[in-house]
């Protein structure tokens, strides 16, 4: 931002043919949502690394890599989902930057894959209220070797706070493509996908902080 202020003096001048340059490189960062959430509520522990690489003026190849352990408490079940995930895709910057600014308002697409386990901690049988007095809590089993793949549409913003340091916010809508389900249970939560709603859809919110490792510069297109 500071560099822009000094640059903006150029607007009024006669240098109509000023060529602004864009920074190209690898941007790596971390998701802030999980650490903050873990601080408030320890039913969720996770870490997500984010990265993107600029391939043209507006197009970025992007990926996220994460680990998540999440406990869901429903009326009749309590289960813990534990696993890793990867998402890969592209971001398209729809924002026309002034001068040499490097901010983004983007739309993106991701393919996501997760490998995980579900542990059914406890469950109660949904039975006639007649037996409410003697309803017993039963301990379930662990379901290993599960997976899911999904597609994601991402809308987000990234702003350059300081030189090469970016703060990002994004919202994603997701839809499961296929999933390996446990026997006599269901993948109600998938790492990287979050809660799986009835029609196999889901959504997510990310706050990221990332740093651009500039590799080279090219004239603004």
């Amino acid at each position: 931002m500071c560099s822009t202020l000094s640059f903006s003096q150029g607007i009024g001048s006669q240098q109509k043919d000023t060529i602004y340059k864009n920074k190209y490189g690898l941007r790596v960062g971390i998701d802030l949502y999980n650490p903050v959430y873990t601080f408030i509520d320890d039913s969720r522990k996770g870490l997500e690394l984010v990265g993107d690489y600029r391939v043209s003026g507006k197009l970025f190849i992007a990926a996220e890599l994460g680990y998540l352990e999440n406990t869901t408490d429903e009326d009749f079940t309590n289960f813990t989902t534990n696993g890793t995930y990867i998402k890969a895709g592209v971001d398209y910057n729809a924002y026309e930057n002034w001068l040499d600014m490097e901010n983004m308002i983007y739309v993106g697409f991701r393919y996501g894959f997760s490998s995980f386990s579900q542990t059914l901690n406890t469950f109660t049988i949904n039975n006639d209220p007649f037996y409410d007095d003697i309803s017993e809590v039963e301990t379930g089993e662990k379901f290993d070797g599960l997976n899911a793949q999904w597609g994601e549409i991402v809308l987000g913003v990234k702003a350059e706070l300081f030189n090469n340091l970016y703060l990002g916010f994004s919202f994603s809508g997701k839809k499961i493509i296929s999933s390996k389900q446990p026997n006599n249970f269901k993948n109600l939560y998938v790492p990287g996908f979050n809660r799986v709603f009835l029609n196999n859809s889901g959504f997510g919110i990310n706050y990221t902080i990332s740093y651009l490792i500039p590799l080279y510069k090219k004239p603004k297109q």
Binding site: Y95, I125, N126, D128, Y131, L155, N184, K186
Partner: protein
């Protein structure tokens, strides 16, 4: 250009709003089925015959007295047996007559969904009963998986 920014921000807010308002799923699927008993006339095997002032007692808990030809009995999923005491003419101490129906079964837990959790179904059912006012019975289903039809016919 400003339009794009405005629209993007607008879409973001709408999506967040939709996400936040996502309704909780409510359990509407069938849960653990009851044992459905229907009472028939022993002289006309096709005709329903209500039991007069029937008192149902399970595990020392009494239900409301009813005159009915259909009973929905909650089977105990925490045991492999439910004993049901059926008292006819329960409102008249000189006329009342009692029978005991014992249901033996195996319990199997089946996952239904997020909001409903697990339900139980009953297999390998067998019935034993005393015959004070019950004349005979006919087992319709050896397992209870749903409440679509009666599982036991009792003739009296």
């Amino acid at each position: 250009m400003k339009k794009i920014i405005t629209y993007t921000i607008l879409i973001l807010f709408i999506l967040i709003a939709i996400g936040g308002c996502e309704r909780d799923e409510i359990c509407i699927d069938p849960i653990t089925p009851h044992l459905i008993i229907r009472f028939y006339d022993t002289e006309d095997l096709e005709t329903f015959k209500p039991v007069n002032n029937l008192l149902v007692k399970i595990m020392d808990k009494e239900f409301e007295v009813v005159t009915t030809d259909t009973l929905l009995i909650p089977l105990n999923v925490y045991d492999s047996r439910t004993t049901i005491v059926l008292t006819k003419n329960s409102k008249d101490s000189t006329q009342l007559i009692q029978d005991t129906l014992t249901v033996n079964y195996e319990v199997e837990n089946v996952f239904v969904g997020r909001s409903c959790g697990y339900k139980s179904i009953f297999t390998n059912i067998n019935y034993q009963n005393t015959k004070n006012w019950i004349v005979s019975k006919e087992v319709v289903d050896l397992q209870i998986e749903n409440e679509d039809n009666a599982h036991l016919k009792i003739f009296h």
